[in-house]
């Protein structure tokens, strides 16, 4: 059972008038800084600086438990995806929205265990995120975007396709907990 609560204060499109920003990169999420802030249970701040003055940031506060091992790699991956520019797919895709990142991390916190392998994160063409696991004989995809802000799941059991299913994350969290316990341990 997941025992963590996440609190977010995502800000998208904040204009930082105080600083001329010309670098491209992530700030405030190097592994060492991350670990120190996690240990101190301080808010984690993933600050995305792009060329120009746009600053995007996610503040994540771990309220009642030690952060799970999957959180830091997920924040690192999501931070990189938040830097994708508009039209990154040459088909007018919007940038990944901070609210999608928030929804995705909240959605995973409903069923992920400490031993659960972190997903592989990719963008959707609607400004959202998709979490993928393809391991231990299963395919599991959860998409978070404007079509399903709280997540839509497609699960395939490659050893027994009779067990395949799909549906909203919120109405399938028990199934996902069972999958996390039995099939999502270890690295992808």
């Amino acid at each position: 059972m997941a025992s963590m609560a996440l609190r977010f204060s995502g800000m998208d499109g904040l204009i930082d008038h105080g600083n001329e920003i010309s670098t491209v990169g992530l700030e405030g999420n190097s592994a060492s800084l991350f670990q120190a802030e996690i240990a101190a249970k301080k808010p984690l701040i993933v600050k995305i600086r792009t060329s120009g003055k746009l600053v995007r940031r996610i503040d994540v506060t771990i309220e009642n438990a030690a952060p799970p091992p999957w959180l830091e790699p997920s924040l690192q991956s999501i931070g990189r995806l938040l830097m994708l520019p508009r039209n990154w797919d040459f088909d007018n895709a919007p940038p990944v929205h901070v609210l999608s990142a928030q929804s995705a991390l909240e959605g995973l916190s409903f069923f992920m265990e400490d031993a659960t392998a972190p997903p592989q994160w990719t963008p959707t063409k609607l400004g959202g995120l998709q979490a993928d696991w393809h391991q231990n004989g299963i395919d599991l995809e959860i998409a978070f975007d404007c079509a399903y802000p709280s997540g839509y799941v497609v699960f395939s059991d490659l050893r027994n396709h009779a067990g395949d299913w799909e549906g909203p994350l919120t109405s399938n969290s028990e199934k996902l907990r069972s999958i996390a316990e039995t099939r999502l341990n270890g690295r992808p």
């Binding site: 994708l84 797919d89 990719t122 063409k125 497609v154």
Partner: protein, 140 residues
């Protein structure tokens, strides 16, 4: 405007269709021990035109090679191959569509895969059978 028909005479079921794959939308598949294109790659364009592919049989006739589809702004992208018959099994129409493409990015083998792709499981089943024949350049 008439909806184009499926055209298995021009693009038979066994023909491979090549689809450009974004470097941001691949994941490692531990079950198959290979990179795979995510299901998000298999969608129609936002302007409503059907999903673009390049039909290998038509490409062969015109001397178009897979590497030709990844020139210019596509140079970091990859290419996935999936046979036309699999798309038809998923309720899609497959037909040549040489006129519906950018003038500066034109190929005779340009073809369309038209049909409902809104269901995520349809897109996933497309990605399940798609083989990445050219892996995108991984982002640092």
């Amino acid at each position: 405007m008439a909806v184009p028909d499926d055209d298995p005479s021009a693009i038979p079921n066994e023909v491979r269709l090549f689809r450009r794959i974004s470097p941001a939308m691949i994941v490692y598949d531990g079950n198959q021990d290979r990179w795979r294109a995510t299901s998000q790659n298999f969608q129609d364009s936002k302007d409503g035109t059907p999903m673009s592919v390049f039909a290998e049989n038509i490409a062969d006739e015109h001397g178009e090679l897979p590497a030709h589809f990844l020139l210019g702004r596509w140079s970091d992208w990859g290419l996935a191959a999936v046979v036309a018959g699999h798309m038809r099994e998923l309720g899609q129409r497959v037909y040549p569509d040489p006129h519906n493409q950018d003038a500066e990015d034109r190929f005779e083998s340009h073809s369309a895969v038209a049909g409902n792709k809104k269901a995520q499981n349809i897109r996933k089943r497309m990605s399940d059978r798609a083989e990445l024949i050219i892996v995108p350049k991984l982002q640092s």
